[in-house]
Amino acid sequence: MNSTATRDLLQVRSMIAAHKRRDLAFAVLGFAALTLCFVTFVALFVDMLVDGSSRLTADFFTSFASRRAGQAGILAAWVGTFLLMLVTAAVAVPIGVASGLYLEEYAPRNRFTAIIEININNLAGVPSIVYGLLALGMFVHTFGLGASVLTAGMTLGLLILPIVIVATRESIRAVPGMIREAAYALGATRWQMVRHHVLPYSLPGILTGVIIGLSRAIGETAPIVTIGAVTFIAFLPPAPIVATPPFVSFEWLLSPFTAMPIQIFNWTSRPEVAFQQNASAAALVLVGMTLLMNAIAIWLRYRLRRNLKW
């Protein structure tokens, strides 16, 4: 090997070494950022656990709120939150999926649909209190639905609608064009194509979007406080199944209610240490509920996507 070639090779080697140093520098920086996030989260969680774990008994889940911290529980709150999520999903899923589907598969590409698209994206950024004010004016006063499960559910449903629409559109767009063409080429109509292919194949993505939306809705406090949800309640909404025909009842929809975030907020604003412990315990339960929903989302996505390879 002659000396010029040797010199060039040495140059290349020192250049590679310099590039690798920069590589390492970024890895260290990224790891530091990640550690910060993780430590913060762990600190918060441990703090809640230390404060609230002593209150996490069976009674806590089966008792109503009480003036005495030791006897207070979250029965009304978790049942309320559960019902609220049912209504929210019932509102957001059909409307959101239908809208997303229409925009992707049916709507012509013109100025009108472009404006709608921009609006939907903007709606996702509107502060939740604004939804609360809207609901107070429209659902509570104009329609006279009161501070009910229905009102709150519809409000949260509207709140997460943009999330569901965007998720629906994204997952519909992920269905390859050649699958659509394959169906069309066999003589399928647009609805047959959507019903047999687009919807089933985009279902995992849509479900994920819905659950992300619900995870957001479950922690929302501002809009439901705005519409006037009760902070102290000692009864459950009427049961949906009754002894007399037709055996189902929707009275619960119009019942007053409370929800987990409100309960937590209420307890936090009390001066007594015991109530602070209740708040921590309830917060743990709320975090648990959110994590559970996310776990379900991951599981569903895994199960449904197994056969979709493209």
Binding site: M178, E181, A185, L186, G187, N307, L308
Partner: protein
């Protein structure tokens, strides 16, 4: 004194379809220019030409795939025989057209469903529900596509688990199940290895007894191997059409000659 094997006079051959003065536009851009081309009944016609010559565009006119996207426009007609229907007619439903002419695509595109459901799909959308009838048709189509023996014991498995070549034969079976009058192949082997390609070519050879085939290919040797007729297209024009033997042995047009001998791309 062309090829020594006697070939029938073109005028005596039965046509399955014929493009007449066909123009096609993507928006303002004209992609096909005044194409007149016969497709003979139960023969294989290959469309060759460099990328962008309009061969796939032409193929996709036959089953009105261009109707799926806005801004496309046809002029002229494609007559379809024996009923002398204009496939491009404004009063002709593209769904009906697609039920009569099936298509096989460039990349194998099975539905992410079971093997059985893939093949049965064309029948299902035609309203066939009876399980035994579906089963018979699925077996028949898979046999015609030379796939039955390989998959008969695992019809409920996912189609995506098949190999690339098997997937493409599945797509052919899917196209065959509803007994189309004509099969459109859009570069059916471009994503396959040579062995899988050979099996698809053999299949095309067997199928031409039953169905008229129009195939786009960028592999000239493939056109030479599988087709009876070859059409050479360039920049939206039909340059030469004739018996494949003649086009590949002594083309009449210099442009065709240059293309098939590898003198320009």
């Amino acid at each position: 004194m062309a090829s020594k094997a006697p070939k029938p006079d073109l005028a005596t051959l039965q046509k399955k379809a014929e493009a007449r003065a066909l123009n096609f536009f993507y928006g303002q851009k004209q992609a096909l220019k005044n194409i007149t081309l016969p497709v003979f009944d139960r023969r294989v016609t290959a469309l060759i030409g460099p990328s962008g010559c309009g061969k796939s565009t032409f193929l996709r006119c036959f089953n009105r795939m261009h109707d799926l996207y806005p801004g496309n426009r046809y002029e002229g007609e494609i007559r379809f025989f024996p009923d002398d229907l204009n496939l491009l007619g404004a009063d002709v439903d593209p769904i009906e057209v697609r039920m009569r002419l099936a298509m096989v695509f460039q990349k194998p595109n099975p539905f992410p469903k079971s093997i059985f459901e893939n093949v049965a799909y064309g029948l299902r959308i035609r309203g066939v529900k009876q399980r035994s009838l579906l089963m018979d048709k699925v077996e028949e189509a898979l046999s015609s596509a030379a796939l039955w023996n390989e998959v008969k014991d695992r019809l409920d498995e996912q189609a995506n688990n098949l190999s690339g070549g098997q997937q493409q034969r599945l797509c052919i079976a899917r196209a065959l199940a509803s007994e189309p009058e004509m099969l459109l192949f859009d570069e059916p082997t471009s994503a396959l290895d040579p062995i899988a390609t050979a099996s698809i070519e053999e299949l095309i050879h067997q199928l031409k007894d039953k169905v008229t085939i129009l195939i786009v290919t960028h592999n000239m040797q493939q056109a030479a191997r599988v087709s009876d007729f070859t059409a050479y297209m360039y920049l939206g024009d039909l340059i030469e059409f004739g018996w494949t033997d003649d086009v590949f042995f002594r083309p009449t047009n210099k442009q065709t000659e240059d293309y098939i001998t590898g003198r320009f791309g």
